[in-house]
Structures are given as C-alpha cells and as structure tokens.
Amino acid sequence: MKEGQPSAAGEALTVTNPWQRLRELTDARIGLGRVGGSLPTSAQLAFQLDHARARDAVHMALDTERLMPELDRRFPLALRLHSQAADRDEYLRRPDLGRQLSADAEQELAAITSEPCDVSICVVDGLSARAIHEQAIPFLDAALPEIERLGLSLGPVALVEQGRVAIGDPIGEALKARMSIVMIGERPGLSSPDSLGLYFTWAPRAGRRDSERNCISNIRPRGLKYANAARLLAYLMREAQALDASGVALKDDSEGDSQLGDGREGNFLLLPE
C-alpha cells in the first residue's frame, strides 16, 4: 500500500529507513520506518488489510458452482464430495472429521463402478478456498499434460469441501487408484493467502501416515510456479513407480538446487568495506 499525501507535520514524525529499497530482495516487511519506536500508521493499516485477507481466505466457502464445470471439462468424471465436518467452525476444531468422508460421499463413491486407474486427483478447500479458486485450474492445466506424457490413466476427480489432506486416502482407495494427488489450500500466510499445496501418496488407503506422503508447497504466481510444480510432481510419480513407495523413502533430489550458493553472493553484509 502506498503512503497517501501526508501533511508536512505528519511526515516529520515518521522516520523512514534508508534501507527500505532492500525490499526488492525479500517479501519480508523490512524498512517499515518508525514513529518513536512504533509502527507508522501506513504500515499498521497495511498489516491489518493483509491479516483481514488471510482471515477471509480461511473462512471463504469453496465456489463449487464455478469449479465443477471446469473439472468436468478436464476429467472423465467429476465428483462433488464433503467431509464429516459440517461447517468451518467444526472443521477448525475437529481436524479428525476433516479427514473422513461424509456418509453421502461414501455412498456416492461406493456407487461408482469405474475401472482401476493410475491417478486419483482430489481438489480440497483445506484452509484456503481462495488458493483453490486461483491456482487449481491453472495448475491442473500444467500438470495434466505431464501425467499424460507419463502414460498414466486418470480416474474421476473429486472436489471436496471441508477436507484435510488425509481425505484423499479413502477417495483414492475407493477409486482403485495406484497413486493419489491431493491439491489443497494451505494455511494462509499474511503475504500468501492464496498458496496451493500438493500431497502425493502412493497406494492410497485409509490410515496412511503423513510420513508416507510427499509434499510440494507454496504453489502460486509469487511462489513456486505452476510449471515447476508440475515437473516436480511428474518426478515424484516416476520415482514412486520405481520405488513402489512415496514419502520419506522417496527423497526429493531437488534439494541440490538451493538458491543459497555459498552464502556470500548477494550478501551485502559480507561485502568488503
């Protein structure tokens, strides 16, 4: 948020920081300036706005009306399912209910007589419906061609309300899928209320532990790009087939690509004086 046009008197009270321009190097809220030792009004209001957006993202309802036709176009079949958590309040207090399918959802799945498939994809609101609204379709458009290139068959897609990660397990199991991909709205950060997370599970079935999954996090335009996330996912799918497992057994070798270098490059604190 930009400063308005402060009066001369108001401006004189605020001490700006000459290192403000280092904000090009990080999304962290550095160089905010100060009034006395406190936060200037503009920075305080900007924070409140971002917190409000993150809160709204948590409580926003999933727009299933808009998403279902988009999914219908991309999958052989699209299902609309609900967890056992009735509403957002119950969802926040009872994570266990968000991991289980409602009775209706179980019935609907039981009625499906599709052939076994390679990949089951679940699109789940999680803690940020906004992340699903903004990232789900563009990410799928990057990921589905990768899945096709690997020669893998797609099962029905499930759009799930009030769901947690583990709800992909009973769904993948019911759809007789060899692997499951859960796309879920991540816990929103102040600067990232729209972040999509991806959980990959080989041989999904109820009771899988989190250590048996691989996670790709922070998928959004200002974080991990769709194409990069899709390539990482393809890597996981290839490796999991070779290993017959996912999770800790499947080490992400992209760690070698650290952006850190030797810690000196770009580190102005360690420049010669």
Binding site: R34, L92, S191, G266, L270
Partner: protein
C-alpha cells in the same frame, strides 16, 4: 490407578486417576476437548480444582502419570528429583503451595534453591489453580540466568531472537532481514534462522554466513540454524561454526520419538556443541522449542492434558542446561489453542512452569491466520510476559514470517515493551548497540535517516551499484 473423590454441597464427584483430575482442573482449551479429556462442565472444572488443591504435592512423586518403565521422561523426572531441595514444600498440598509461592517466603533465591525439588507435574498442578496475575507475579520472582556470548535473563532485561527467515533461504533476502533487525536493536538472544530445508550443506552454509556476520560486526550474540539435532551434529562434523544446537522437544518419550529424538541423542548433540568451546562467557549451548499440543498431535499424550505434558518438556530441557527455551505458543493451531484468550493464558502458564523449574524461558508470542486471534491479543500476551520477566521474544520484520506463515512479534514490538516497562537488552549487546550508534536505553533508536557509520558501506554499495533507489 487412584480415584479422587470430593463432596461439594452434598454432591459427590469422582475423578478416575491423577491424570483425569489434572485434565478436568485445566482451564478450558480446545486441545483437551479434542482429546476428550476436558471437564464436562464448568462446575466439574471448578470442583476438580478444589480436589486438586487438597492433593499433597508429594503425591506426584509416588504416582507417576506415565509409568516409570514405559517412559524415559518419567524416569528422568523421578531419577533427577532432589529430595533435599523439595523439603521446604514437601508437606504442602497443591493449594498450600500456591499460597507459598505468592507469599514473601518465595523470592529469587528460595525459588532457585527449590527448583531441583520440583517436578513438572507439581508446577503444572499449581498453575491450574492460578489466575493470570499469579502466573505473572511468581514468574517474575524466578531468576534464571544463562550465558554463551552474552548474558540472558538478568532482572530488568528483555532479549530478542532475530528471526530472518526466507522461504528459499536466499542469502541476500536473509541478510536484508538481519540488517533490518540489527538496526532495530534486535538479536541478543540469538540470530536464529528456520531453514527452508533440512539439507546439511544448506545448514552448513547458513552457519558460516551467520558466523561471519557476527564476527565481522563484533556482535556479542550467538547464532543458530534451527534444524534437526542429527543435522546439527552432521554439520559440526563437517566443521560448521555452530554456537547453539537446536531441537523441538515434547513431554513424553513417544512424542519425542515422533520428533526423531530421545534423551541420548540430545546428550550427543550437546556434547558435539560443547566440543567446539565457542562460548566465551558460558556453556549453555542448547536451544529448545516446545508448545502445548505437540504430544496430542503426535498421538502420544497418554490421556494427559496438554499443559501438564508441556511442563514435562521443560524437565527434558533443564537436563541439558540450555541457553534458550521458548514455547511457540500459538503456532500449532486452533484445534489446540482456539483463540486469543486460550493462547494468552497458555503463554503465561508455560513461562511460569518453565521458570519455576529453573528453565530460561522465552516465548514466541504468535498466532496463525486460522486461529481466532489478532494483534490485540498478541499485545496483551506480550505486555503480560514483559511484566512476568520473560527472557526473550521473537523479532521479525513487521510480525510476518514469510517462511513459516504465521505472525510473531516484530522488532517494533520489542522496542514498545522496552519503552513501556523500562526493560533493557542483554548488557553486552546493549553496549554494542550504544557503541554502534544504533540504540540507547531511555532514548530508543539513536539514528534517524542516516545509517550508523558501521553500516554505511553496506547500503552504499547496494544502493549505488546494484539496486536502483
């Protein structure tokens, strides 16, 4: 298992075992409700507190909440218990112990002598009978001082952990937050990075970088990269300049197994850090983080309430003479601490219990965006912890951790607290701040638009050669 029975106004209440009594007596929080062990009604809670008040403190020595044979934390607690230190309160009930703590008999000296005689269960029990003001008052009486490259926890002092996290561990991004923090007088507890990855070579690089910054600017503080203890040991073996070894810990053996640790491994980590002999002022080389709810989330809570289990984590901490311990009170989410009210009380309980056990407590005053909490709640907890003599809080640019996606206290928050309560940074660090022209006690930040001389070259090069202004 003992049954606890109490009659109140002609009605009989039964609590099936010590653990059930403690859980029922705990002020309401979502995590205990989630575990199905909270009091069934407000009345049951109040009655449980009455029954708990009658209980002799010594009961906790005779009746372990988790069997001795099953749990190495129980063994640690009982094996280390100092009967002689316990003597002054040995005949008291939990309720009488509350009175004792609030009385003049309890002062810095007597509480320090008592600490080895107290078990986590005793301090957790008494905390359940206390109001916020009791937790503040007794917390403030406790004196715990630790040293590495400076002195943390002296009366009238408030330190900060400078937390320059970056989602991809980008060196210039981290450096930008470090500079921001130092120029806002932050970083005397530690400059501590949560790395985005547990990859050992990344950790080694970050440790070298922090070491260079600290020695280049001659900052009397210590560094830490908050990675798993096994990674830290590996980094030390690879020659990384390691000040503090970090680990998240919990109050049961099973929960610690979920973290991939046990007491033997922590001992190994401490010995590795001690072998480097890097602390000129002292040998407190460990940094621990805790938080209510961690045992339940690891499905390792043994039917006990999350606050009692949290206190047991402090028994683990004190075994290793840490420099820093902080509860990350609002991080874990609303299923454990639902709103600002629950987070505030939990933060004060944790500080109280840790201090009473002789642990150098700080607090990550924080919340996530799916909790019913906001900056106003954090201001209340922050101010209360300042009054309670909390050793340190976190410091992060504008309260926004862009790597961990939660809000904690800012550099500005620490300046506020120092100003309102007259608190000062750690003495060695304070002198450095004054020498460097950054901060002076009573005056606040000592420069305006022009950077202190020591830091001018930094911006000059950045500003003129690489970044358009």
């Amino acid at each position: 298992m003992s049954e606890h029975v109490i009659d109140v106004d002609g009605r009989r209440y039964r609590f099936d075992g010590l653990g059930a009594l403690l859980a029922a007596a705990t002020p309401h929080r979502s995590g205990d409700a989630l575990a199905g062990i909270a009091a069934a009604s407000a009345e049951e809670r109040a009655v449980a507190q009455m029954a708990l008040a009658e209980l002799p403190l010594a009961t906790f020595l005779e009746e372990p909440l988790i069997p001795y044979e099953e749990d190495e934390i129980t063994r640690l607690i009982l094996d280390r218990h100092d009967r002689a230190a316990f003597a002054p309160v040995a005949s008291l009930s939990v309720g009488e112990f509350r009175n004792w703590l609030l009385s003049e008999r309890a002062d810095g000296e007597s509480l320090a002598r008592l600490a080895p005689g107290l078990t986590p269960e005793m301090v957790a029990a008494v905390s359940k009978l206390m109001r916020v003001q009791d937790l503040v008052l007794v917390g403030r009486k406790c004196e715990v001082v630790t040293r590495f490259r400076n002195t943390i926890g002296l009366p009238g002092r408030l330190s900060t952990r400078l937390q320059p996290n970056h989602p991809t561990d980008d060196a210039s991004g981290i450096a930008a937050s470090i500079l921001d923090g130092l120029l806002y007088a932050s970083g005397d507890a530690v400059i501590g990075i949560n790395p985005a990855t547990d990859n050992t070579s990344t950790v080694v690089t970050l440790l070298k970088m922090l070491d260079e910054v600290i020695s280049r600017y001659e900052i009397p503080t210590q560094s830490c990269v908050l990675t798993h203890v096994t990674t830290a040991i590996e980094a030390i073996e690879r020659g990384a300049p390691t000040d503090l070894v970090f680990q998240s810990i919990a109050g049961t053996e099973a929960a610690n197994r979920g973290f991939g640790i046990d007491l033997a491994l922590l001992r190994e980590g401490r010995e590795a850090a001690l072998s480097l002999k890097r602390g000129p002022l002292g040998n407190n080389v460990m940094y621990f983080e805790t938080g209510q709810g961690s045992a339940l989330s690891a499905n390792a809570h043994h039917g006990l309430d999350q606050q009692t289990l949290e206190a047991r984590a402090y028994a683990v901490a004190r075994e290793f003479e840490p420099l820093l311990v902080n509860t990350v009170v609002g991080f874990i989410g609303p299923e454990y601490l639902f709103d600002g009210k629950q987070i505030i009380r939990a933060g004060l309980e944790d500080h109280f219990c840790g201090k009473l056990l002789g642990v150098p407590m700080g607090c990550d005053v924080c919340y996530t965006n799916h909790a019913e909490a906001d900056q106003d709640d954090m201001d209340m907890l922050l101010t209360l912890l300042g009054a309670a003599g909390c050793h340190y809080i976190m410091g992060i640019p504008g309260s926004d951790d862009i790597m961990l996606n939660y809000q904690t206290t800012s550099f500005h928050d620490a300046l506020y607290l120092r100003q309102v309560l007259g608190l000062r940074p750690a003495p060695e660090f304070e002198q450095w701040l004054e020498r460097s022209g950054i901060y002076r006690h009573g005056q606040g930040i000592a420069f305006d638009r022009e950077l202190p001389p020591r830091f001018q070259h930094v911006l000059g090069s950045r500003g003129t050669t690489e970044l358009p202004s």
